[in-house]
């Protein structure tokens, strides 16, 4: 979209922006109406109505697509420059982890309807104010990226829904009551016709309406005919695999594309067999299964979803990182001088050249020389997968690991810890890269084993 001049761009996006702000306005008024009925919340309801009014004004300001007016309803260059300057793979990844932890810690406050609503408004206004930026709009409105924007909002909503139910149940359990799902009126048997069948029917109709609307409003992309000589830059996998493609920054294809995905699938399948906690079956709760909950949220929300978002919106040509409002310049170069662990060890610490296998030597001799060269990495690897879990069980006697070991037995305990350690490999490699410019822990290019 960068070929477009700014005025043309505005005239294209203004209609959408106007509709978008009208939607926010309507949402806020409905919410205000709904809150109005609650005692003592009439002031808040009034505030939400005002937010709706502001959004209405924004809608009016955007409708003409006049650059002099739109200027006032978009982030100015200083803010955008500031956000871009702050953003990097490091701040982004660490930031999303911190956000998850903060959300977890303050979940009781965050799920309150008015607070959550504030969050939703924040997200929506941020989107709106950003959309007047050409570079931001160019990636977000790309047809195949629109579903991800939807995913973000849906995940936010359902996370809120589940968390608020869990918080409510946890409060009840702490008071010695049953979780809501276990109370008498909820356990009562009802006939599936009409209670469930009608719900399903309504879901089906609503979904059909959404799909029709989506299909009418947004045309499916069709680019130039395939050509095996013109490589687009960036070349991206479909969006749901972009988390894996992002892992290629840190791992070679055999890890990022084969081993780690297989471990994800295996790990997911293993969940029911390693989570021995009998509580929290059939109702929303967090307190009764904190460990499982946090592990899953870390894997799903931080490692899977935020990496997809990064891979889609923030990775441009040559897979370089670009802030939200940066132009995807295909000539930007990122310096890459990463160093292998063996290099650090032999050259840096021992002041010796790397041992080099003689290419004509017998296979076994070559392997031995390579093993010598990579000894530190190999020891680390064995220590990580084989020795760390027992150490954890010995060291953490009370809280997590030793009790787990006792209840699970050796094999299940090792499977569980090893799966978790596999999951941790990615953040560990990220950290090593950011802090030590670490390229490979074990580098055996002779046999394509770089790790």
């Amino acid at each position: 979209m960068h070929g477009l001049d700014y005025n043309e761009f505005l005239s294209q996006i203004s209609g959408f922006l106007c509709g978008y702000y009208l939607l926010i306005a309507a949402m806020n008024w409905l919410f205000a109406l709904y809150r109005w009925k609650n005692k003592g919340e009439s002031r808040l309801a009034l505030a939400w109505a005002c937010v709706g009014l502001v959004s209405l004004i924004l809608a009016a300001m955007s409708v003409a697509g006049n650059p002099d007016v739109i200027r006032y309803i978009s982030f100015n260059e200083t803010i955008k420059g500031g956000i871009d300057a702050l953003m990097s793979p490091t701040t982004y990844s660490v930031g999303s982890l911190l956000i998850l932890l903060v959300m977890f810690r303050y979940r009781e406050v965050l799920v309150r309807p008015n607070v959550a609503w504030l969050g939703l408004n924040g997200m929506m206004f941020f989107m709106g104010l950003s959309l007047a930026d050409q570079d931001f709009a160019a990636i977000v409105t790309k047809p195949d990226n629109v579903p991800i924007v939807g995913l973000i909002f849906l995940l936010a909503f359902f996370t809120w829904l589940a968390t608020s139910k869990a918080v409510e149940n946890d409060r009840r359990i702490a008071n010695g009551e049953l979780p809501l799902e276990a109370t008498e009126p909820e356990r009562e048997k009802v006939l599936v016709w009409p209670d469930l069948v009608y719900t399903e029917l309504i879901c089906m109709i609503a979904l059909t309406a959404v799909m029709l609307l989506w299909a009418i409003l947004l045309q499916a992309p069709l680019e130039e005919p395939a050509s095996s000589v013109k490589t687009p830059n960036p070349s991206k996998a479909p969006w749901y695999f972009l988390g894996l493609q992002e892992m290629l920054v840190y791992y070679d294809p055999w890890m990022a594309g084969v081993v780690l995905p297989s471990m994800i699938v295996a790990g997911l399948m293993a969940i029911p067999y390693i989570d021995f906690n009998k509580k929290g079956n059939g109702y929303y709760t967090i307190n009764e299964r904190k460990f499982a909950y946090l592990t899953f949220q870390f894997g799903f929300l931080v490692l899977w979803v935020t990496l997809i978002i990064m891979g889609t919106f923030l990775r441009g040509p040559n897979w370089n990182f670009f802030g939200f409002y940066e132009y995807w310049d295909s000539h930007a170069v990122e310096a890459m001088n990463n160093v292998d662990l063996s290099q650090y060890f032999w050259v840096g610490m021992l002041n010796q050249p790397l041992p080099k296998p003689d290419p004509d030597a017998a296979f076994l001799t070559k392997v031995l020389v390579i093993a010598q060269r990579e000894c530190v990495g190999i020891v680390l690897l064995i220590g990580y997968f084989a020795i760390l879990p027992p150490l954890l069980a010995m060291w953490d006697k009370k809280r997590l690991f030793q009790p787990m070991y006792k209840r699970m037995g050796l094999i299940r305990y090792m499977v569980m810890t090893n799966l978790m350690l596999w999951m941790a490999l990615l953040p560990i490699k990220m950290l090593a890269r950011w802090v030590f410019s670490m390229k490979y822990f074990i580098a055996i290019p002779e046999y394509f084993i770089n790790f």
Binding site: W193, E223, W254, I271, T285, F300
Partner: protein, 258 residues
Amino acid sequence: MPSLGDIIRNSQIWKSIFRHPAPVDRRNRIVVMLTNFFLHLHPVSAKKQGIALSYTWCMGGVTFFLFLVETVTGVLLMFYYRPTIEWAYADILTLRDATSLGILRELHRWGAHAMVITVWLHMYRVFLTGSYKPPREFNWVIGVILLLLTLLLSFTGYLLPWDQLAIWAITVGSNMARATPFLGYEGPGAQLLTVGGIDMITNASDARFGLLGARFVGEETLNRFYVLHCIAIPLGVALLLAVHFWRVRKDGGISGPM
């Protein structure tokens, strides 16, 4: 004077299809669930908590519905589409420019994206309610396979329009197979698989070749992905869905507190 509705409901045709009066009273609401083939996926009665929209989000149901939408729109798309390099792209163009009700491709494409999203949300819900715990462990495993197949369905379909977006996304994705340990010719250990000094794993015999049917994304790949996308994977999904739904019932219905 009987109303038109009564006449229809008392006709022999109607009665041959629905073997009971309208489900307006308790008895017939039970009978309808037992005698209708499609409805008998469901139990007759269920705990209120388990069928609450706020509990299941109806996400499994929505995913299933999207699968049906994909099946119907997919069959219609097959009427217009020939999976060859000469025709694939041209057929998509025709479909866009010359077909009445021209949102078929949109419905199919956005439906696929939506299905990927809803299957994740469904898994998310099942996790958050701890519904994978005994006795539902195995249904979770089946679910994971369904998740994988859903992604593969989407992935194989991505190639079919045969535009730049398609072949390069599939090229990037399938390049990974080149690095499969032992089975990819750039994978760890592949060099070790030799017989009498001849490499067994070459770029014309490795995992990627098996996936693409060639050394790069080309004619053979298009054919292979077409068959996978339209026949093999949907059949697999349909079979597993049958097991999945059956198991929901056999594992005691939608989960709830013990």
